[in-house]
C-alpha cells in the first residue's frame, strides 16, 4: 500500500478540465462511489471548510494520519492511495478548524462498520467481495445459542460463556469443540453464528460445538495469564466436553482468538502442551523485544512481551496445527510475520494467510472459511450430485 501517483486520478482530472464549479462537484459526489475507486487508485474525498483534513487509519506504509490536499479553488479535499486488488481498509476523517480537531465517519461514504471502540468508514478496493457465506441463508438451519454461567476458581469470578450447538447432530460421531475468545465481539461484529450456520450447512467445515467466552478484565486475563489458561484447560473445556459428550481428545479441541485473544489462545496451549489439537490465531498481538527495552510497548503488554520472548527463546511443539492470519496493512503484520518461523516449530503444520485488510472484525470474519475450513475439514468434497 503506497501513497498514490503524483498525477490526479481520472475523476478529479475530469473535474479540473470540465470546471470546478460547486455544481460539478455536487455531480461528482452524487454519481460516484466515495472514496473513488479507479483501478488500483483509491481517492478519499471530503468537502467543506477546514484548516486541515486527514485520514485517520492504522495502515502500515502510509503517513499517519494521511493528509488530504485541497483542490485549488474549491472546498473539495482529496488524497489518493494505491491499493492492491481485493483490499479493504477502515478509516475515519479528521477535520481541524482552529484549535478543534474532530474525528468522524466519512460523510460521503455510507459503508460504515462498528465495534466496541466505535464506528469506522470502509473502503473496499476494486475486487473486494463480501463472502456470500457471511450473509444469513434461509436454507441454513441456525444453531442454538445457549448462555452458561460457570463458577471459575481460576478466574475468581463467574465466567460467562455462550455455547453454539449446531443444528445437525450425527449419532455416529462425537463433535469437536472450538473455544473462541472475545466471543461476544465475534458474535456481534463478525456475525460468527451466521458464518457457522452457513459453513456447516454447506459442509465447508465439520459440525462442531463452539464455546464463545466473554472476558472479564480482558487486558489482564488475555495477557498470557496463567489463571485464564487454567480456566480454559481445567474448567471450561472439561465441563463442556463432559456435558455435551464431545470428542474429548486433543484432536477435538481448538482454541481461537484475535488480537489479545490470540495471545490468550497461544499461552493456554503453551501451558498445556498436547491438550489442544489446533489453534486459530487472527492478528495475534505477539509483541516481543529483541534489542529494545522490555517496557517498549507499555505496561499492558509487559506480560505479553515476557511470554512471547520466552516462547521465541525456546520454541517447542505444543499443538498439531496452527492457522495464522493477519492483515498485511496492520502494524501487527510485522511481529506476526516474524513469528511464523517460531510458530512453525511449535506445531506439525502451520498455515499462514496474509489478508489485504487490517486489524478489524470484518477481516477476521472474512478469514473464517480459510481457518475453520482447514482446521475442521468439512464433508463438501464427499457430496456429489444426487
Amino acid at each position: 500500500m503506497t501513497p498514490g501517483p503524483a498525477r490526479s486520478p481520472r475523476a478529479l482530472t475530469r473535474l479540473r478540465s470540465e470546471g470546478r464549479s460547486p455544481e460539478a462537484i455536487d455531480q461528482l459526489l452524487r454519481e460516484q462511489r466515495i472514496p473513488l475507486v479507479e483501478g488500483t487508485t483509491c481517492t478519499f474525498l471530503w468537502r467543506g471548510d477546514a484548516d486541515w483534513v486527514a485520514i485517520e487509519h492504522r495502515m502500515l506504509e502510509l503517513p499517519m494520519p494521511l493528509p488530504l490536499r485541497r483542490l485549488k479553488g474549491t472546498d473539495l479535499w482529496y488524497a489518493s492511495v494505491e491499493l492492491p486488488r481485493g483490499s479493504r481498509i477502515q478509516y475515519r476523517i479528521l477535520v481541524r478548524q482552529g484549535d478543534n480537531t474532530e474525528s468522524m465517519d466519512d460523510p460521503l461514504n455510507p459503508r460504515v462498520v462498528g465495534d466496541a471502540i466505535g464506528s469506522q468508514s470502509v473502503l473496499e478496493a476494486d475486487g473486494y467481495v463480501t463472502p456470500d457465506w457471511t450473509y444469513p441463508d434461509p436454507a441454513a438451519v441456525s444453531g442454538d445459542l445457549v448462555d452458561l454461567r460457570i463458577p471459575s476458581r481460576a478466574l475468581r469470578r463467574e465466567a460467562h460463556v455462550t455455547l453454539y450447538i449446531p443444528s445437525r447432530m450425527r449419532r455416529d460421531r462425537r463433535m469437536p469443540l472450538l473455544v473462541v475468545h472475545d466471543g461476544g465481539d465475534f458474535l456481534h461484529y463478525s456475525s460468527m453464528a451466521t458464518v457457522l450456520d452457513n459453513l456447516m450447512h454447506r459442509r465447508l467445515m465439520a459440525d462442531c460445538v463452539v464455546a464463545f467466552t466473554h472476558p472479564g478484565d480482558r487486558l489482564r486475563e488475555y495477557a498470557a495469564s496463567a489463571a485464564h489458561s487454567r480456566f480454559l484447560t481445567t474448567e471450561l473445556v472439561p465441563q463442556v466436553e463432559g456435558t455435551l459428550h464431545l470428542r474429548g481428545d486433543a484432536r477435538g479441541r481448538v482454541l481461537m482468538g484475535a488480537s489479545f485473544g490470540g495471545v490468550a489462545a497461544l499461552s493456554a496451549a503453551v501451558r498445556a502442551p498436547g491438550f489442544y489439537g489446533a489453534l486459530l490465531l487472527e492478528s495475534p498481538s505477539l509483541r516481543f523485544t529483541e534489542a529494545t527495552p522490555s517496557g517498549t510497548f507499555g505496561e499492558t503488554f509487559a506480560p505479553v512481551v515476557r511470554f512471547v520472548n520466552s516462547v521465541r527463546a525456546r520454541p517447542k511443539k505444543v499443538t498439531d496445527r496452527m492457522f495464522l492470519t493477519y492483515g498485511a496493512f496492520e502494524p501487527l503484520a510485522v511481529p506476526d510475520r516474524a513469528m511464523v518461523e517460531v510458530l512453525e516449530r511449535m506445531c506439525d503444520e502451520l498455515r499462514v494467510v496474509e489478508a489485504l485488510d487490517g486489524h478489524n472484525w470484518i477481516n477476521w470474519r472474512d478469514r473464517l472459511l480459510d481457518g475453520l475450513g482447514w482446521l475442521f475439514p468439512g464433508e463438501a468434497p464427499l457430496i456429489f450430485p444426487a
Binding site: D172, R173, R174, D348, W374, A386
Partner: protein, 309 residues
C-alpha cells in the same frame, strides 16, 4: 452374466430406458442413502425409473441400528475415530510425498534430461503411501467386523434380512449419488454387495464410486486443500477402475502433470471420468467400452470417445 451400467450425474438421463435396456421385468430396488435425511424424497427418481421402485431405506436403517444398539453405536464411533486418525496421518504424509514429486518436476523443468527414475521414485513413494493407507482402512474394518460380527447383532440381522427380502422381489438395483461416505457405510452395513450378485445394477454419480473397489475423492475447491486421496473401500462390484463422477468441475485446477500423477497413482486401475451424459457398461465387473466416458491417460491427457476406447 451380471449387467452393470454406470452413469454420471443425472442431467436429462432417461433412467427408464436404462432399466429397460437390462431386459428384465419387475420393480427396481432403489438406494438413496447418500441423500441422508432426504432419503425418502425419491418421488422424482422413482418416476424416472418408471414407477414402482422399492426404496431400501438404508440410511434410515443405519440410524435405527445406531439408535437401537448402543454398544454397536459406541464401537462404530470408535471405528470412525480410528479411521479419522488414519486419514489425518495419511493426508499429512501425502502432502509431503506429493511435494516430493513436485520438487523433482521443478528441479528438472527446462532441463534437457527428463526426470525418469527420480520422478518414478517420487511417485512410487506416493503409491506406497496410498497402498499402505488402503490396507490400513481394510484392516480397521476387518478388526471391527471381527469384534462386532454383524450377524450377531439382532438389529443388523433383522435389517439385512428385510433388505434381502425386498431385493429378492426386485428385478434390478439402482444406486443414486449424494454423500459418498454415508452411502458407502450404508451399503456395507446392509451387505448389499452380497445381494447385487446376478442382478442388473444401475448406479450414477457417487453411486458409481461406492460400487468400485477404492473410493478416490478429488475436489479442487476444497477449502481444506486436501489432495486427491484414497478415501475408503467400496463394495467392489466394479473392478479395475476408479470412478470420478462430476469430474470436470472438481478437476478444474488439475494440469496434465497432476492428472498424470493421478493416473499413475491409480494404475493398474483406470481413472474413469463420469460427467453428465457419460455412460459405462461393465463386463464381468470390469469396464467394457470406454467410448462414452473420459479416461485419464498416463501422460495426463483426458481421452474421450474413440481415443478413450
Amino acid at each position: 452374466m451380471r449387467q452393470v451400467t454406470l452413469l454420471g450425474p443425472l442431467d436429462g438421463v432417461d433412467l427408464g430406458a436404462e432399466v429397460a435396456a437390462f431386459g428384465v421385468d419387475g420393480p427396481v430396488a432403489l438406494v438413496t442413502a447418500g441423500w441422508e435425511e432426504g432419503e425418502r424424497n425419491d418421488a422424482d427418481v422413482d418416476r424416472r425409473l418408471g414407477g414402482g421402485s422399492r426404496n431400501l431405506n438404508l440410511y434410515g436403517r443405519r440410524l435405527d441400528v445406531l439408535e437401537s444398539d448402543p454398544d454397536y453405536a459406541d464401537a462404530e464411533r470408535l471405528l470412525r475415530t480410528q479411521l479419522d486418525e488414519l486419514r489425518d496421518l495419511y493426508l499429512l504424509r501425502l502432502r509431503h510425498a506429493l511435494a516430493g514429486v513436485e520438487v523433482i518436476r521443478r528441479r528438472f523443468a527446462g532441463e534437457e534430461r527428463r526426470p525418469g527414475p527420480e520422478l518414478d521414485g517420487a511417485i512410487d513413494a506416493v503409491r506406497t503411501l496410498d497402498e499402505t493407507h488402503a490396507t490400513a482402512i481394510a484392516s480397521a474394518y476387518e478388526r471391527f467386523y471381527t469384534q462386532n460380527p454383524p450377524h450377531s447383532r439382532p438389529s443388523i440381522d433383522r435389517h439385512r434380512e428385510e433388505v434381502a427380502d425386498i431385493v429378492a422381489g426386485c428385478a434390478a438395483i439402482a444406486i443414486a449419488g449424494g454423500h459418498v461416505g454415508v452411502l458407502n457405510d450404508c451399503l456395507h452395513l446392509c451387505n448389499l454387495a452380497a445381494l447385487v450378485e446376478e442382478r442388473p445394477l444401475l448406479a450414477w454419480s457417487s453411486g458409481c464410486m461406492a460400487v468400485t473397489e477404492r473410493i478416490v475423492v478429488i475436489d479442487d475447491d476444497d477449502p481444506a486443500g486436501r489432495p486427491d486421496e484414497i478415501y475408503d473401500i467400496g463394495i467392489g462390484v466394479a473392478r479395475g477402475m476408479v470412478a470420478l463422477p462430476a469430474a470436470m468441475p472438481r478437476l478444474h485446477a488439475h494440469d496434465p502433470d497432476r492428472l498424470a500423477l493421478l493416473a499413475r497413482r491409480c494404475a493398474p486401475s483406470i481413472c474413469v471420468l463420469l460427467d453428465a451424459g457419460d455412460r459405462l457398461e461393465l463386463q464381468s465387473g470390469s469396464p467394457a467400452d470406454l467410448g462414452m466416458v473420459g479416461v485419464v491417460a498416463e501422460d495426463g491427457q483426458v481421452l474421450r470417445g474413440a481415443h478413450a476406447a
